[in-house]
């Protein structure tokens, strides 16, 4: 062996030594924080999944542009996506993969309650903090988990407010509503709503004339609408994903089903595609959302304008929650000054966010109770109306938030 080759070898060894030292040493502090994000990016809920993805991307871009996480040396946030296809099994394996293979430090997602429920369970097992922007099933935060935090209102609150709205509007207009039909998608979200509707309908003295689950991927909803026609209810309560919301609205117009009041539950009805495709068939329907473009909050208009310029459509309650979730994560990381899951968890639990870009949300602040639920999450009800010859979603309830000069059309069909 020549001296030259020994020299080369030594040089190589030294280089390897330097490299490993450099990688493990504090000089190479982490520059990005990986956030795993499971969303329905294909399949029937894909359009909401993509909206959530785009809202998150905009928030992360803003956060990174403003210097990232300053207490961590300006660390940047990086979103790593996985497609759940709205399938719980896929959601679970993707969460496992993000945590084990991609080594994400936090998790967020998954929009579908049915996916979020088992996915949060996985994250809890690994002790990875999971910020849920919207998946409304109550039990997601009612299992005594330590690492799960939810921004949006849970479904019992949504349902409670739908009935408060009905009561308030009847008091305001003197219209009496007696019979009610429940029509809902057959997933966790719809069946969860329906369970609570039944209890509240009984309490408020409505007579249930139809209680109908349907599969979200049905090729035809005419059978459901036919049933609705023969039940002839005063009020129709709806939970639908995007595609079936359009299908059901157009089929109701086709079959000339005209209930006095239709109350939807956000989701598919709040999707920008909904009004585009249902058009005037959706006129005077009520929809419950967490946010509306006319919400009177500082920065809301500007953020919506920026989003619209970037992606070509308005923010929705769900995308606002996704947007807000990124700021909640950034805020927690800033205070934790660490990516240690224990410290991030503690910081999330101590969240008291009432200023900054996150506050375009309809509620005043974000604070989590001991179950991880945002105590202050709020809801508004909008009506689809024609304003200046254009279909628009006008905030009508709570009365304090009602758009000035607008009188709700109640009942919609006499």
């Amino acid at each position: 062996m020549s001296y030259a080759s020994i020299g080369k070898r030594l040089l190589g060894l030294a280089a390897i030594g330097l490299l490993t030292a450099g990688l493990s040493g504090p000089a190479f502090a982490q520059k990005t924080i990986k956030i795993g994000n499971v969303e329905p990016l294909s399949g029937p809920s894909a359009s909401v999944g993509v909206q959530g993805k785009q809202a998150r991307e905009m928030a992360v871009e803003e956060i990174n542009k403003n210097g990232g996480i300053k207490s961590l040396g300006g660390a940047k946030l990086e979103l790593i996506y996985a497609d759940s296809k709205s399938d719980p099994t896929v959601g679970v394996t993707e969460t496992e993969r993000l945590i084990n293979t991609e080594k994400v430090q936090l998790m967020t997602g998954c929009w579908n309650s049915a996916v979020t429920y088992p996915a949060t369970q996985v994250a809890e097992r690994y002790g990875v903090p999971f910020v849920v922007p919207v998946a409304v099933r109550d039990t997601i935060t009612e299992r005594g988990f330590k690492y799960v935090f939810r921004i949006a209102a849970k479904d019992s609150w949504w349902v409670r407010d739908q009935f408060r709205f009905l009561k308030d509007m009847q008091d305001e207009t003197g219209v009496k509503l007696k019979t009610m039909a429940l029509v809902f998608e057959n997933g966790d979200w719809g069946t969860g709503f329906a369970e609570k509707w039944r209890a509240l309908a009984k309490k408020d003295g409505y007579e249930l004339v139809l209680d109908e689950p349907y599969p979200s991927t049905a090729s035809d909803l005419t059978p459901v609408v036919t049933k609705l026609k023969s039940a002839n209810p005063d009020v129709v309560m709806l939970v639908s994903n995007a595609a079936d919301a359009i299908l059901i609205t157009n089929t109701m117009a086709e079959m000339k089903v005209k209930p006095k009041v239709t109350v939807a539950s956000g989701g598919g009805h709040a999707d920008p595609k909904f009004l585009e495709n249902a058009g005037k068939n959706a006129l005077f329907m009520f929809d419950e959302v967490e946010w509306n473009t006319d919400v009177n909050k500082p920065g809301a208009k500007e953020t919506n304008a920026a989003f619209k310029a970037k992606y070509g459509y308005d923010l929705t309650g769900e995308s606002v929650d996704a947007y807000v979730a990124m700021y909640v994560i950034a805020d927690a990381l800033e205070r934790a000054a660490s990516t240690d899951p224990e410290k991030v968890r503690a910081a999330l639990a101590a969240t008291k966010l009432s200023t900054g870009p996150a506050m375009i949300a309809s509620y005043d602040s974000i604070e989590f109770d001991e179950s991880g639920q945002n105590k202050n999450a709020g809801i508004v009800i909008v009506q689809v109306a024609e304003v200046n010859g254009q279909l628009d979603r006008v905030t009508v309830w709570p009365k304090g938030a009602r758009r000035a000069g607008y009188t709700p059309v109640f009942p919609a069909n006499k």
């Binding site: 993509v50 599969p215 090729s219 005419t222 059978p223 023969s230 086709e254 058009g279």
Partner: protein, 294 residues
């Protein structure tokens, strides 16, 4: 009672369209003895083609019927010629070639994912002048897009049947379906016939795409919604039978719409499968299937 009659009207119209989605599948199976798993994807391709045509040119949705099926015919024709024929030739000695099934499954995945890459996952609908329109017949309501779909479906089935029994090419298709070796010996080019069968089957998927588009939505995996149903219908009506496919379709449509008047509509899926199993048990060859064939 009104609701039941209304359900029968809707079920028949919708069922004819289910039959239409199964027609291409049954034709290809009849002639080639190949289960085309890509059928749903071809329907999706038809729907997307109709979608873009209507969206970009603003033509009436039913005018797309003049453009989409011919396009899809060539798509299917060359797909068979380039992708399936080589595999088929390699398995010439096998009565029901298995590898071809895997090829069609591959085509299914490639087409679905290609559509996902090109158009994204969002669902799309065309808002047309006929969306959500209907007319009343006494106390019953008939949806215009669905009635049009029904008429086109029946016309297509009748057209296909006439083609099969009246024309030379149709007879050649039948002959190949009965015995491909004998047909070969009689001077029928087996592979040209396969190209034709695949082309026609795909064109019919295109017709189905055009009539479904005005009231349904399209997204890359929309094929699956109609696909599973089409498979049931084909087996129910008898593999390879045209009127079997139409009758099977209407039966499925009626079950779906009438049964859901008496129970939650989520149950009808299970009932469809139960009826399917019962019929398989009583008459395994389906309504119009020929026993000796399989």
């Amino acid at each position: 009672m009104t609701a039941v009659i209304q359900a029968v009207i809707n079920g028949t119209m919708m069922g004819a369209m289910y039959g239409l989605t199964a027609l291409g599948l049954t034709l290809i199976f009849g002639v080639m003895k190949v289960v085309n798993f890509a059928h749903g994807s071809l329907l999706m391709v038809g729907m997307f083609t109709a979608y873009w045509l209507i969206k970009l040119t603003g033509i009436h949705p039913y005018l797309s019927l003049l453009v989409v099926p011919p396009l899809l015919f060539f798509f299917g024709y060359y797909m068979q010629n380039l992708l399936i024929k080589p595999v088929f030739k390699a398995e010439q000695q096998v009565r029901e070639p298995l590898t071809v099934i895997i090829v069609t499954t591959g085509v299914w995945y490639v087409l679905d994912n290609l559509a996902l890459m090109l158009f994204g996952a969002e669902y799309r609908t065309v808002k047309t002048s006929i969306t959500g329109t209907s007319f009343s017949m006494g106390e019953f309501i008939v949806s215009i897009p669905k009635l049009s779909g029904f008429v086109v479906s029946v016309a297509t089935a009748v057209g296909l049947w006439l083609f099969m029994v009246k024309t030379r090419t149709g007879k050649a298709l039948q002959a190949t379906s009965l015995d491909r070796e004998a047909a070969n010996l009689m001077g029928i080019d087996q592979y040209r016939i396969y190209n034709l069968a695949f082309g026609i089957g795909t064109a019919i998927a295109g017709i189905a795409g055009c009539v479904i588009m005005p009231f349904y939505y399209v997204y890359p995996s929309v094929g699956v919604v109609f696909d599973i149903r089409a498979f049931i219908i084909v087996v129910l009506g008898g593999l390879g039978s045209i009127h079997g496919a139409m009758l099977g379709g209407v039966i499925i449509g009626l079950i779906e719409s009438v049964f859901s008047q008496f129970m939650p509509s989520t149950w009808t899926e299970a009932i469809i499968y139960a009826v399917f199993l019962v019929i398989l048990f009583v008459k395994p060859s389906g309504f119009f299937g020929k026993k000796q064939d399989w």
